[in-house]
């Protein structure tokens, strides 16, 4: 454990009871974050970053935007998914709905294979 972590752990241990009492008056997000800090501290894992989050956050964490990739990313190349006969017995070719159910062979009921 590095010196900063050790110092933070010392301070946390020293003021834990008062901090617990203080956190009871705060929104659920703050209480959850504090509970996580306690779990990490008990497991002797780093807590400095979490404490920084507790001090720096306003209790209303912002979305990180991971859904759209990095800033400036485009929509990407369309994936043209096609499915064929599960055992290659015919040339049936099916274009399913995006993220929709995998089409099935009408004869055997087996799921078709992605081409």
């Amino acid at each position: 454990m590095d010196r900063a972590e050790r110092l933070a752990m010392t301070e946390l241990c020293d003021g834990l009871a008062d901090l617990r009492a203080e956190c009871l008056h705060h929104p659920a997000e703050v209480r959850r974050l504090f509970a996580r800090i306690e779990v990490e501290a008990r497991a002797r894992r780093p807590i400095v970053a979490l404490l920084a989050e507790l001090v720096g956050s306003d209790g209303s964490p912002a979305a990180r935007g991971v859904a759209g990739g990095l800033p400036g990313f485009g929509a990407g190349r369309a994936h043209e998914e096609r499915f064929g006969c599960p055992d290659g017995a015919c040339d049936r070719d099916v274009r399913p709905l995006p993220a929709g159910p995998v089409p099935r062979c009408q004869v055997t009921g087996a799921r078709m294979k992605r081409r």
């Binding site: 301070e11 946390l12 020293d14 003021g15 008062d18 901090l19 203080e22 956190c23 008056h25 705060h26 929104p27 659920a28 997000e29 703050v30 959850r32 404490l51 507790l54 001090v55 306003d58 209790g59 209303s60 964490p61 912002a62 979305a63 990180r64 935007g65 991971v66 859904a67 759209g68 485009g74 929509a75 990407g76 190349r77 369309a78 994936h79 043209e80 274009r95 709905l97 995006p98 993220a99 929709g100 159910p101 995998v102 799921r111």
Partner: protein, 298 residues
């Protein structure tokens, strides 16, 4: 407490004041002023200034004890407004996620979203059939796919954009991985690594925070019945919360789908459904077996 933690406790106290007390106090003051002005003199600044001046004069003439009681009353009312807003966050959440009590309206909106999505998919398929395909044609296909995904990442099943994000997560997990997430999610959560859980928890907290902001739109909207200038204030607050919630639910569902893709097999291994050491996302057959185990005939 040490200096660092004294500062931390102070910051937490300041945050509570900023998040609940200040907006609550603004609502209380707005309600008192709005009730005096009404719709007839809604923007009469002279009358507003006179009312404020009268209130200050009245307050100044009270005894120390009476002043303390008035301040305590206003703070209590502000805190009560904050608590009420917290309580109605569930309503805001249901509105955003499309769990509407008015079923015919929800069905109508869902139908409209579904038919628009299917039209966009059909247009995409038309563009994909164009031959030969050069760079401009490919760009047109990419743009068409982006329009489909922007409306919903899978066939819509809810009346709202946010609701369809969650619906797409459920339906893609069921249709492509065989997983019924309603039952499988708690088990998956227990086998996820700490980093994945941290990211998903953060995205969930961001969504809750967006909903909390949007919930502050309710008091001004109700106050708008008495005093119309409160309505645009409510609209702006609601829009801000809605935009934050949209961004957060997009993150939350993207991360949850990633967790299913990356760790679904760990769940299968833990349940003894898939072979230890095998790699890749769950197959629908493996997911079906997991679903059968976790649903237990329910």
């Amino acid at each position: 407490m040490g200096g660092f933690f004294q500062e931390l406790a102070k910051k937490l106290a300041e945050r509570w004041v900023a998040l609940l007390l200040v907006p609550g106090a603004l609502v209380v003051v707005g309600a008192l002023l709005g009730a005096r002005l009404g719709h007839a003199h809604a923007l009469d600044w002279t009358a507003a200034a006179r009312h404020v001046s009268d209130a200050v004069t009245w307050f100044g003439r009270r005894s120390g004890g009476a002043q303390a009681a008035v301040v305590a009353g206003v703070l209590g009312a502000a805190a009560a407004v904050g608590l009420v807003v917290q309580a109605v966050a569930g309503v805001t959440r249901r509105v955003f996620l499309g769990e509407w009590p008015v079923r015919p309206l929800a069905r109508w909106r869902t139908r409209r979203r579904r038919s628009r999505w299917l039209r966009l998919v059909a247009r995409r398929h038309e563009l994909e059939a164009v031959r030969p395909r050069g760079e401009p044609e490919q760009r047109a296909v990419d743009a068409a796919a982006a329009r489909v995904n922007a409306l919903a990442p899978a066939e819509p099943g809810r009346p709202t954009w946010m609701g369809d994000r969650v619906h797409a997560l459920e339906s893609a997990a069921r249709d492509r991985s065989g997983l019924d997430l309603t039952f499988a999610w708690p088990r998956l959560w227990l086998v996820l690594p700490e980093t994945a859980r941290t990211e998903i928890t953060a995205a969930h907290a961001a969504f809750a925070a967006g909903v909390a902001v949007a919930s502050w739109a309710w008091p001004p909207v109700v106050l708008g019945v008495l005093w119309w200038p409160a309505l645009p204030v409510g609209l702006v607050v609601g829009l801000a919360g809605w935009a934050r919630s949209r961004a957060a639910i997009a993150d939350l569902t993207a991360l949850a789908e990633a967790a299913v893709d990356l760790h679904g097999r760990d769940l299968g291994a833990a349940l003894g459904v898939v072979e230890e050491g095998a790699a890749g996302p769950l197959t629908p057959e493996e997911g079906d077996a997991i679903t059968a185990l976790v649903r237990k005939g329910r």
